[in-house]
Amino acid sequence: MKRFLLAAAFFGILLLLWEAAFRAKIWSPVLLPSPRQVAVYLEGAAVDGTLANATIVTMRRLLIGYIIGFLVGLPLGLLTARWKLWQDTIGTLALGLQTLPSVCWVPLALLWFGQTEVAMLFVVVMGTLWSVVIATETGVRNVPPIYSRAALTMGSKRLHMWFKVILPAALPFIVSGMKQGWAFAWRSLMAAEIFVTILTGFGLGQLLHYGRELSAMEQVIGIMIVIIVIGLLADKIFFSPIEKFLHRRWGTSQA
């Protein structure tokens, strides 16, 4: 409770500073709207459905792309960990492509797929995929051999070994790869949405872009806040509980 109150006080003070900066008129109100103006914009966008629509469009792109990236990346990571040939080919490719900032996929995606949903999905998949491949490979390679030896003597083989021993043992690595993949995908999707307008759906990035076009700073800041909140929620609702479980089971220190 005390922690909550302190945190609330912290954010309250941030808001007050913002309001104070606005009232001091250091910058033109066009460049720095008041918290109230931003709140009014957000309320309006929430009431007329713009915000909900944009959030749904963005989240749909993100989730579908993320799930595809994960489902493709996990088996690729297992294969690269298991066979030298895969390690030398897909493994090296993954390592190279992972160093490429995922926003760099946007021009290529636009030329290949045009201004379509597929282009957006492609960018998200590329953001997720390579992180998951590399994390899975690293995780599997770091499984202590004693686990598989012990499992062998108990009669575990092949698929059972992969699903009941090696994958769970590599879980801490895989989860951190998923988290990194999520971060990459989220960033690159926002960049792509700001970069291009896709007629089939206006995402949060597009709202941000139009905020700039219209010089509507309250819209720009409002959408930025929404994007931050979504990022926080993804962490608190999805990743945090998994990480807590891992810390408790493995006995690793809680950050």
Binding site: I146, Y147, R149, A150, A151, L152, T153, M154, G155, S156, H160, K164, V165, P168, A169, L171, R248, R249, W250, G251
Partner: protein
Amino acid sequence: MHQAARARSAVSEELEVITPSKLAIENVSKNFQGASGPVLALDGVSLNVAEAEFVCLVGASGCGKTTLLNIIAGLEKPDSGRVLADGRPVTGPGRERLVMFQEPALFPWLDVFGNVLFPLKLKPNLTNEDRRDVAKYYLELVGLSRFERANIHELSGGMKQRVSLARALAPNPRMLLMDEPFAALDALTREQLYGDLQRIWKARNKTIVFVTHNVREAACLGDRVLVFSPHPGRIREEFAVDLPRPRDINSVDLAAYATQITKALKSFGKAEAPVTA
């Protein structure tokens, strides 16, 4: 009602004390590729272990005793010679012969109960309820019923090895292979486990091959103690320990055996001094 009776009988069948294995090791040799050429880890080792016998292999580190245990387990293949368990050649690992390693090798993603359940889930013809009952039985046998839901990292070293023992016993193997399982534990915990292991060995009637570098431990646990010499690994001497059980590791009679065995070990020379305490 009928179903409950049947479930109970499946569990009691699973928990039945079964005939232990007898083991024949015939002229087993094994080379390793060392940094400076091949090393002869085992040189023509032959050994018979009777049903329900408790055999200890002692020797300095690097004498090939762990390699021999791995070959018996089926985790490694000998270059020549063969291992027969109950007359059949060992071709790979199997749950007839379960291994307890020096590190507990427990799975950190499962709790204590999940670890003991793991080998049981690999056993067909049991319902999940049966498996849970069997796991409970073995956790009670090693005295850890209260810790079913504990995470592995929360246990002490001795408790981890107890869980490891319960996990090895759970699928009711005919033979237990133990690779210095108590080496990393403190003396007090070890003494407790010596008592427990002897009790459980009697209760479950297993054949046990136990590798150690601790001479007293070998004299305390083994019906027979086989002494290895290193470079190349050979069985050089054999001691039958004729003392009543359960044995107390601090008894004078046991110390006399330990002295004899130590003398034999030291006579091989160049080997580093094994632990005698």
